[in-house]
Every structure is written in structure tokens, then in C-alpha cells.
Amino acid sequence: MKRLLSLTAVAVALAASSAQAQQVSVKIGVMSDMSSLYADIGGPGSTAAAKLAIADFAKSNPNVKVELVSADHQNKADVGSGVVNKWYDTENVDLVIDVPNSGVALAVSQIAATKNKVFIVSGAAASDLTGPKCNANTIHWTYDTWMLANGTGKALVKTGGDSWFFLTADYAFGHALERDTAAAVEANGGKVLGKVRHPLNTNDFSSFLLQAQTSKAKIIGLANAGGDTINSIKAGAEFGIVKGGQKFAGLLVFASDVNALGLATAQGLTLTETWYWDGNDNNRAWTKRWQTERAAAGKFPTMVQAGVYSGITHYLKAVASLKSGADGKAVVAEMKKLPTDDVLFGKGTIRADGRKIHDAYLLEVKSPAESKYPGDFYKVKATIPAAEAFRPLKDGGCPLVSG
């Protein structure tokens, strides 16, 4: 697998290059969850996106030679940091990208800073990565918990969902998501009527949903992720939550989850994402290429995978501009200096705290009747402009900024 990837990348680079004066060489490592919970959110799809990014960049920049490797962190912080240490120390990897799973991402961010390499987070959500734990070697690309909380929370309150009940996964991530969303709801005039905390990886939500039903809140906020979210929504369909007039707000939901639920169950679910495959013609065209590369039936790219494409594109741009990928801090500084522009996320910028800024979209899942073709999941309820979508720079507590 690894050999195939490197061979492909080298072949592409060779094919695109003739005699050049300056060869810039970099090695990129896609580290993701290839085999468990987040494999559909990032996983092999991220590797596919990376290959597309490298191929596209090589077309116009034949003097940049890029090698690609990938690995599975299995959602374990020690496996992840072990692999990354080895990559940075012995395999000359310059950029690590993706890493869904905030715990692993935080660990890798530290390592990248210590070894002066580059780390672009696409998969993980922790807003601390651009807050107290920020550093000069890390960029947080696609989304974060603040954006999710504020996007969904604020937008829903503004469209009439002003009473909330939270179903929270009882661990740090769930608490953070609930806290941030509750703050956004209340700041915009809404009320939190109650909350209940469930253990992580709960199978059966009927009991918790009953409590949510009794509260009569207009919106049930799902401060959980993955299987927990899917189970909550499935149980919700059974207990007629949506029929009873309440709505679900998925605080961390991906297209792959909606695919797994099926539209009949997920219809009416509101969520925020920063990229959607069916959003415009560019996205659609790219998705076709991604599906060919990914070679797995019936899958659609998530915003995380699109973020990998976009992140690598901008990284390579910075490396080409500096003519070297060796100094991590310099590359990241260059990435912050250059405005971003790619076919998926359009124009944007990267702030001093490492936060990439782009628009976000409030999406609602269509009903089966409204869906015209496979993958037609969402209708766009609102666009949240980039300036408002992410936490204000001064509020983050990032030492790079306030210092």
C-alpha cells in the first residue's frame, strides 16, 4: 500500500517534470483513522483527496516533487504519536495532515512544534488547537467545535428554535460542545430547558429521548458524535420526535453519518458544515474524481476530506514560494501570509492563530421525497459568512496572538 502510493506519487512527479533547475522535494503523511469510528469521515478518503491534490499541483508546478505516505492512528494517542515521531525522525516527513480525533491531534501538534515540522488538522474538532494549545507549526483547517456550536446554535435560534434540550455524551468533547452551543443559544436570546448526559457509546437512547420529549423544547441538541448521534436519531425516528414537532440539531454530523442513517430517518436534522459535495459545480466535478480515486461504491466525500485536498494545495503553494519545505515555522508563516484559493473552498485566509477562515453552511437534511438522486442529502438553510463563522481572534487565548 505504502509502496504503491509512493510509486504513484513519484510517477506523477516524474511524468510532469523535465529538466529543472530547482527541485523542491517534500514528503506528506496522511494520518487518519483508517479502521474504526472515523474511517468514513477521514480515512482512506483523505488519502484519495491527498493524491488528487498532489496530482493537481504537479500539473502546474513540475519542479515540486511530492511523496505521499499514510498511516492509521487507530484512534489511539500513543499509536498516533509513535507513528508521527517515526515519520518526522526517520522518514523525513515534512507535513502531517488530517488526524480526526482531537486527543491524537493535540499530541501530534506538540510533536510538530518540537520537531519544527508542519501539521494541518482537517479531521479533529477541538477549538483549543487554535486557542490555548496553539503553536506556530499547526494550522486548523476545516472546522472546529466553536464554529459548530455557534453556527448551528445561533442560526437555529434566529430561525425560531429558541428553546433547547441537550443530549450530551458524558466526556470532555461532549461537555465542550454542549457548553459552547448553550452559550451561543443564550447569547442570541434562546433558552436551555434542560440537559441529560449519557455514557459514551450508548446503544439505546429511548430513556434519554423520553426526557427530551417531556421537556417540550423545540430543539434537541445532540452534543455527541459518531455512533451515539446515529443511535439518537434512529431512536428519535421511532419515538416520533420529529413528528411531535421537535427538531434535532446535530452538533457534529457528517455526510457519511447521514448516508448511514438514510434520509427517511434523518430528515429534518439540522447541522453545520463548511463544505458540501453538491454545493456547486466545482464540488460536484471534484467529487466525481474523488469517487473514481476512492473506488468504493456509494460514498461521498466529507468536508474533512475536502479539507485535506485544500490544505495540501495551499501547503504546496507555500513550499513552492519558499522553495523549501524544511523549516516548519517558516512554511506555516508563509501559509498565513498567502491568501488561500482552491477549487473547493474558494478564497480564504489563515489567521495568526492558525485558524483557516471560510464560509460555513447551515444545512437541513432533505426528506426522501425531496431527494432527487443518490447523495442529494441537504438543503442549504443559511450561509454563515466567514467573518462570523469562527471564534474571534481575541477570544481564543492563543499565546501567539495575545503575546
Binding site: 474511517a39 458524558d170 417531556t214 421511532e238 419515538f239 442513517l261
Partner: protein, 295 residues
């Protein structure tokens, strides 16, 4: 925490009912485990993966053969049961004379293989499985709205559980089975094909797990992990009920479902742990379990 002060009786009854429904899944699953352990002395760690297989086979039957939920309830357990029998014939039968440990390790390894393969080919997010239309909707019971499907779950699992108990404890076939495990040589002298009975029993236990899987498919996420999160809890149930006792597994399954349901109301964060606390206490006080025969 959302405190429901002085829980109104409505809320209490509804939580009890829900607990009972969850209990029926526990009962179905622990029944299979209890049958396999009670009859064969094997600790079947693969049970969770076989439950998952039941749900997956139901999904595949729908996808590729257009076989819907109702036929799948019979077909999927049979198919998975057959797989179980193959496992028993090719691998498990060599381990009967050895310590429990090896059976446990083998089935643990098998569980990893099955789960890993499922994940590689189908991803981890899960597969959609719709509820059959006949069962959609709910009854308004006054104190809560009971989804029809959940009512069906209770009925189906009670029937299967009591049916199994009846066959094993009250029929000639069951008696032969129990005798075969206590004294295989003697029973073989009577002309009964003991190895075949053992294979069939294992297959039956596995089929029970698969049946639970098909029942779960419309309401729980059909994912490769669905079994591994349940399996530990189900083990606790079986241990509490008494590892050889069929009735123990059934009663404990339902009972624990109710207790878990109540915990979810009063102390939701602990609802995962309460079963283990109870298990530790029971093991210390009554080592053979509540209904167990062997110490």
C-alpha cells in the same frame, strides 16, 4: 443534570417499560451465551460479532436478494448459525479438553477477525436498515408513546426465550443435550451422536445471537462495532444470572434492563457502570450467580 424532582409516576412507568425492552435484548443475547456455556463449557466471545453478523446478513439479504425483514428473521439466524457450526467443527472442537482460557482466546480472536473484515468492506459509519412499514408508528399508552416496534421486541424475545427454556429444560431433546454435556461417554453408549449434538447446540446459540441482531437492525446502528460494545455487558448478565442457567440468563437479562433503565433516570452517567458493580457484588456474595448450578 435535568432533575425530575419527585419523579412523576408517568415518567417512572415509561422508563420501566423502556428498561424492559432493553432487557429483552440482553435476555436474547445472554440466552445464546448461556446455552453455549451451559451446554458446551465454551465462553463464546464471538457472540457480539455473531450478533453483528445477524444484522449485516439481514442488510445484505435486503440489498442483494430483496429479502425483507420478516423472512430475514428466519433466514439470517439460519445462515449465521451455519457459519457457527462450521467454526465449531473446524476450530472449537479441538479445545474442549483444555482450560476455558483457550476457548475464550480463540473466540476472542474470531471476533476480531469478523469485526475487522466487516469494517474493511463496509466502513464504520454504519448501514441503513429501515423498519418494516407494518411496525412503524406507536401506541399512545397514556403515560408514554410506545413505538410498535419496541412492543414487538418484547413479545418476540419473550417467546423465543421461553421457547428455548422449554425445549432445553422440559423436552426429551433438551434432556439428551444436558446429559450429553454431563457425561458424553455414557450418552454416546446410548447411541446418541454427541459431537453432532454439540455442533447443533453451538449453532443454535449463535443463531440466537443473529436473531437478536436482526431484531436490532431497524432501531440500532448497523455497524461493525455494534457487537463489541454490547458483549461485555452481556457477559456480565450471564455471569450474574449464573453461567449454566437458562432461566437465570433470561430473568437477569430482563431484570438488568430494568435496573439500567432506572439508573438512566436517576444517575444517567453511571448507567454503563451499574451492571459491573452488581456483577462484582453478586460474584462475591453468590459465586455461582443468582441461579447458577456450578460454583
Amino acid at each position: 443534570m435535568f432533575e425530575i424532582f419527585g419523579i412523576p409516576s408517568q415518567a417512572l412507568f415509561s422508563q420501566l417499560l423502556i428498561g424492559l425492552i432493553n432487557g429483552s435484548f440482553y435476555a436474547l443475547l445472554s440466552l445464546g451465551l448461556a446455552v453455549i456455556f451451559g451446554m458446551l463449557n465454551i465462553i463464546n466471545f464471538t457472540h457480539g460479532a455473531q450478533y453483528m453478523l445477524g444484522a449485516f446478513v439481514a442488510f445484505l439479504l435486503l440489498q442483494h436478494a430483496g429479502i425483507g425483514y420478516w423472512p430475514a428473521l428466519i433466514v439470517a439466524p439460519i445462515l449465521v448459525g451455519l457459519i457457527g457450526m462450521v467454526i465449531e467443527r473446524t476450530m472449537l472442537q479441538w479445545l474442549y479438553k483444555l482450560d476455558h482460557l483457550y476457548g475464550l482466546l480463540l473466540t476472542f480472536g474470531l471476533a476480531l477477525i469478523i469485526e475487522g473484515l466487516a469494517r474493511n468492506y463496509y466502513g464504520s459509519a454504519g448501514l441503513p436498515y429501515q423498519m418494516p412499514d407494518v411496525l412503524v408508528g406507536g401506541y399512545d399508552l397514556g403515560f408514554m408513546r410506545l413505538p410498535i416496534y419496541r412492543g414487538w421486541v418484547i413479545v418476540a424475545s419473550l417467546t423465543v426465550c421461553l421457547g428455548t427454556w422449554f425445549v432445553i429444560e422440559r423436552t426429551r431433546l433438551g434432556a439428551n443435550l444436558r446429559a450429553a454435556t454431563e457425561n458424553p461417554t455414557l450418552v454416546r453408549a446410548f447411541g446418541i451422536n454427541v459431537p453432532r449434538m454439540i455442533t447443533l447446540t453451538y449453532g443454535f446459540g449463535v443463531a440466537l445471537a443473529a436473531f437478536a441482531g436482526v431484531m436490532a437492525a431497524p432501531i440500532y446502528n448497523v455497524s461493525p462495532q455494534m457487537g463489541s460494545s454490547l458483549i461485555i455487558v452481556v457477559f456480565a448478565v450471564v455471569v450474574i444470572g449464573g453461567m449454566g442457567s437458562i432461566m437465570g440468563a433470561i430473568v437477569t437479562g430482563f431484570g438488568l434492563g430494568v435496573i439500567e433503565g432506572l439508573t438512566k433516570v436517576f444517575f444517567p452517567e453511571a448507567s454503563n457502570t451499574v451492571i459491573f458493580v452488581i456483577m462484582a457484588i453478586v460474584l462475591l456474595v453468590r459465586p455461582a450467580g443468582l441461579f447458577g448450578r456450578r460454583a
